[in-house]
């Protein structure tokens, strides 16, 4: 009878049970907070007050928090802005990153060492706030959606991961394509990219999440409030009533100004900000491990 190594043996009944329990616990530890957040966002103010915070047991349910959030039209608009920026930004970022990574992965391509050095330099030194602003404003990008995309279009980390993946593709494959008369573009499109679906999906997700979450650049570069993406708009809700300075001194508080938003609204904000990423993740997830360990095993 063939003996298998210890880690490949079927676990005993007790072992299986223990593993099951541990895994269940881990999954619950991840899911329970999300469950609480979603449930709280769907609860009435009374249910939240009774629970004294996050709701764990379903009580009266209501969509009031979401209605309040979407009532003004400001949030709806911001969702569209964010979707647009995310779609366009991810496409641009992926395109540029793939092209740059491919070029830099080919041995002997023009100036690839100095170029790579420049890219790696941005790992170590980020431009400061003011130089970035000066650049963006002198390019005339203030108050333009491009200000959210162009300054962050290429991330050195993603570029390096992708480059090392491309380098792991055996030279024989591309050589044979070249013998068949394929141009570099054709090799990239027909040979290299189809072999790199995993890494492309992962890097695409990284970029997309980055664009979806873009906050600081938006605060900085967009003066026109109608152009604000979702995260900036949502944050304003969370801030509500928090630090109005006159509020502290008291007498000058703004009459008629609503009280800080209920917990339900805050949790609805979390849900709205989270859902798209949560929705996309399962589709990319199977590529994830493969994509990220690329750099790890390549010597």
């Amino acid at each position: 009878m063939m003996t298998s190594p210890p880690w490949a043996e079927r676990p005993g009944r007790a072992g299986g049970l223990a593993k099951g329990l541990v895994l269940t616990f881990v999954v619950a530890a991840v899911l329970f907070p999300i469950y609480m957040v979603v449930l709280t966002s769907l609860s009435t103010q009374e249910a939240v007050s009774r629970a004294g915070g996050l709701v764990t047991a379903p009580g009266e349910l209501s969509l009031a928090a979401y209605r309040q959030l979407f009532a003004g039209g400001v949030v709806t608009r911001a969702v569209l802005v964010s979707l647009g920026v995310t779609a366009a930004g991810t496409a641009i970022s992926l395109g540029v990153t793939v092209l740059a990574a491919y070029g830099l992965s080919r041995p002997g391509s023009l100036m690839h060492r100095p170029l790579l050095f420049l890219v790696l330099l941005t790992f170590l030194f980020g431009p400061g706030l003011i130089p970035s602003y000066l650049l963006v404003s002198s390019l005339g990008l203030v108050d333009s959606y491009w200000a959210l995309i162009l300054p962050t279009a290429v991330t050195a980390f993603n570029l390096v991961v992708m480059r090392s993946f491309f380098m792991s593709i055996p030279g024989e494959v591309t050589d044979s394509a070249r013998i068949d008369g394929a141009s570099e573009f054709r090799i990239l499109r027909r040979i290299v990219l189809p072999m790199s679906k995993g890494v492309t999906a992962v890097i695409g997700l990284f970029y997309a999440v980055g664009y979806w979450n873009s906050f600081f650049n938006a605060v900085l570069y967009l003066n026109d409030n109608a152009k604000w993406p979702l995260q900036v708009v949502l944050r304003q809700y969370v801030l509500q009533g928090q630090s109005l300075f006159v509020g502290q001194s008291g007498t000058g508080t703004i009459p008629g100004q609503a009280l800080p938003p209920g917990l339900a609204v805050q949790m609805a904000i979390v849900v709205v900000a989270l859902v798209p990423v949560l929705f996309v993740y399962p589709f990319v997830q199977r590529h994830f491990t493969k994509g990220v360990i690329v750099g790890a095993v390549k010597g």
Binding site: V142, G247, G256
Partner: protein, 564 residues
């Protein structure tokens, strides 16, 4: 561009250079609920001071606006740089008066950058409230609203790049984070002295209605650079649950530290989930007559940490902590929400700005009509003369872009004049509530209440352009207005006159940076983690690390101003 920390005042400095915070721990009270009033004041590169007389001569001539009279009169401050007490309204004026007789604007169009801590309203094109207010003004103001919590980053970037909006609002606590604001202010913003100094303010009667003390804070480099947002005098008070106190017959006017302690003993009942105190230690400073920052005695400046009273205060606080008279979640975490605790009756006394009073009433009066708060009359630890700290007289500043043509500057000032319309005027009502019937309706007490459209479109925007006299205007709670006003009037005579009142000083950054680490050490003493005898050592470290250097800096200011 940074001058070394601790740089002394220069001749230019004497002539009226800048400086932001006169020695005030309490000035930080403006920071709002998210931070404690004595929080750290990020230092600026330079450290300068401006002389008192110069500031007063630059201010516009004060002419009170006769149209609105509060039900309870306030106190006009004649203390240099210290805000007075605004009046109080117990009812909403039956028919708001128009503050202006003719259109403020001349059809110009301006962009204004303002902070906001709340949901952003729809933009000008889709916002009937903005449109209505602009129509009344007679000019187009388009707001560039920016998240109040990251305002400084954006403001710095715009100042550095020269991308300045026509009208720019900058809170004082953000200015203090800008190392080179003294220089930036001249490059970025228009000098308003020729438009507003002395009697030149006449075309803008509502700006003339702003207190002189507030204007004194608007001076940079010897020029009037901004329209100030006035504040009220007191950073905080000891608020207590009046309803619980009356029901239980507790002492609502402790006369000395021992009575406060005994009150704590009487109230605290951990089994009944009730503790006497929240975080009260900053008010305990005043009870022990610790100076707001420096005390000048015998030809020498003594810092508050060095006073014997500070050590007494630490001993007292240590006893409150040791005997568990302070709510455990306040003890354990800085983030405990004391408003929730006092609202739920788990604590009965805490330190807060007077604004917390109104907020708690809004949250709890509806469900519990008996819910009431009040503030302990100020008292001293030994039963002697009490002492109270004061705020800086202006909290936010509105600047006009440099290079704006004269007639445009005049139009902008005229718009700011409109925005300065005080409580009880038509303009105030429009800028705070929108249009009657469209954005708000009146409740049974005649008070405007926003409707759905109002909640969607009306946001504090015009409110931040300049400022207006501060009134206690909680007309929904006339009992609280009376109690608040009585407390303020009774407290005002006890406002501490500091050695530096009326002089604007920008703290040396090294000195500012010392505050948090030093006070953390004192906190260790209060919490019983270090013996009280360590005070000497902590003070020695403080002196070594910049305290003595700061003392020299401040002494020079006193000498330069002829006060030492």
């Amino acid at each position: 561009m940074n001058r070394p920390p601790g740089a002394t005042t220069t001749r230019r400095g004497f002539l009226g250079l800048v400086g932001l915070s006169a020695a005030m721990a309490a000035g930080g009270g403006l920071l709002g609920a998210c931070s404690t009033p004595s929080g750290p004041r990020p230092g600026s590169g330079g450290a300068t001071a401006a002389a008192a007389e110069k500031l007063t001569s630059l201010a516009p001539a004060y002419t009170p606006f006769p149209g609105v009279r509060p039900d309870i009169p306030g106190i006009v401050s004649d203390l240099p740089g210290i805000p007075g007490v605004g009046g109080g309204f117990t009812t909403y004026p039956t028919s708001p008066v128009p503050a202006l007789t003719r259109k403020a604007g001349r059809g110009g169009s301006y962009k204004a950058m303002t902070p906001l801590w709340g949901p952003v309203p729809p933009g000008l094109a889709d916002n009937s409230y903005f449109q209505a207010a602009n129509a009344d003004i007679g000019a187009t103001v388009e707001f560039q609203i920016t998240d109040g919590t990251v305002y400084v980053d954006k403001a710095i970037a715009r100042l550095a790049s020269g991308d300045i909006p026509d009208i720019m609002v900058i809170p004082s606590w953000e200015i203090e984070k800008m190392a080179d604001f003294n220089q930036a202010v001249d490059k970025a913003f228009e000098d308003l002295t020729p438009y507003l100094q002395g009697d030149k303010v006449t075309p803008y009667p509502l700006l003339a209605n702003l207190p002189t003390a507030a204007w004194e804070w608007s001076v940079w480099n010897g020029r009037l650079m901004a329209v100030p947002f006035p504040t009220e005098p007191f950073p905080f008070a000891l608020l207590y649950r009046k309803d619980l106190f009356e029901r239980n017959g507790w002492n609502t006017a402790p006369k000395n530290a021992d009575e406060l302690y005994r009150l704590g003993k009487e109230i605290t009942d951990p089994k009944g989930k009730r503790w006497a105190f929240g975080d009260i230690h900053e008010m305990v400073w005043t009870i022990f007559r610790i100076p707001q920052e420096w005390r000048y005695e015998g030809g020498r400046l003594v810092h508050k940490y060095e006073t014997p009273e500070y050590e007494q205060m630490l001993e007292f606080m240590r006893r409150l902590f040791a005997e568990e008279l302070i709510h455990p979640s306040v003890v354990s975490s800085k983030g405990a929400n004391e408003k929730d605790l006092i609202g739920g009756g788990q604590i009965t006394v805490y330190r807060d700005g007077l604004g917390g009073w109104k907020e708690l009433l809004q949250q709890h009066r509806g469900k519990n009509p008996d819910f009431a708060l009040d503030a302990f009359p100020v008292f001293a630890h030994d039963g002697g003369k009490p002492l109270m700290y004061h705020n800086n007289a202006a909290g936010i500043f509105t600047f006009v872009k440099k290079g704006t043509p004269k007639e445009k500057v005049e139009e902008i000032l005229s718009i700011l004049n409109w925005c300065a319309a005080p409580y009880g005027t038509k303009e105030y009502e429009l800028s705070n509530f929108g249009v009657e019937g469209k954005h708000f309706t009146r409740d049974d007490k005649n008070v405007p209440q926003l409707n759905d459209l109002g909640r969607k479109e009306v946001a504090p925007t015009y409110l931040f352009l300049g400022g207006r006299p501060i009134f206690v205007d909680w007309v929904a709670y006339p009992d609280a207005v009376k109690a608040n006003m009585e407390w303020q009037q009774a407290t005002f005579p006890h406002v501490e006159k500091t050695p530096f009142d009326g002089i604007r000083i920008q703290r040396p950054s090294r000195f500012s940076g010392l505050q948090v680490p030093t006070e953390d050490k004192f906190t260790d003493i209060m919490r019983g983690r270090r013996p009280v005898s360590d005070v000497k050592q902590i003070v020695a470290e403080w002196r070594r690390d910049g305290g003595d250097e700061a003392r020299d800096f401040y002494m020079k200011i006193l000498r330069d101003n002829g006060r030492a």
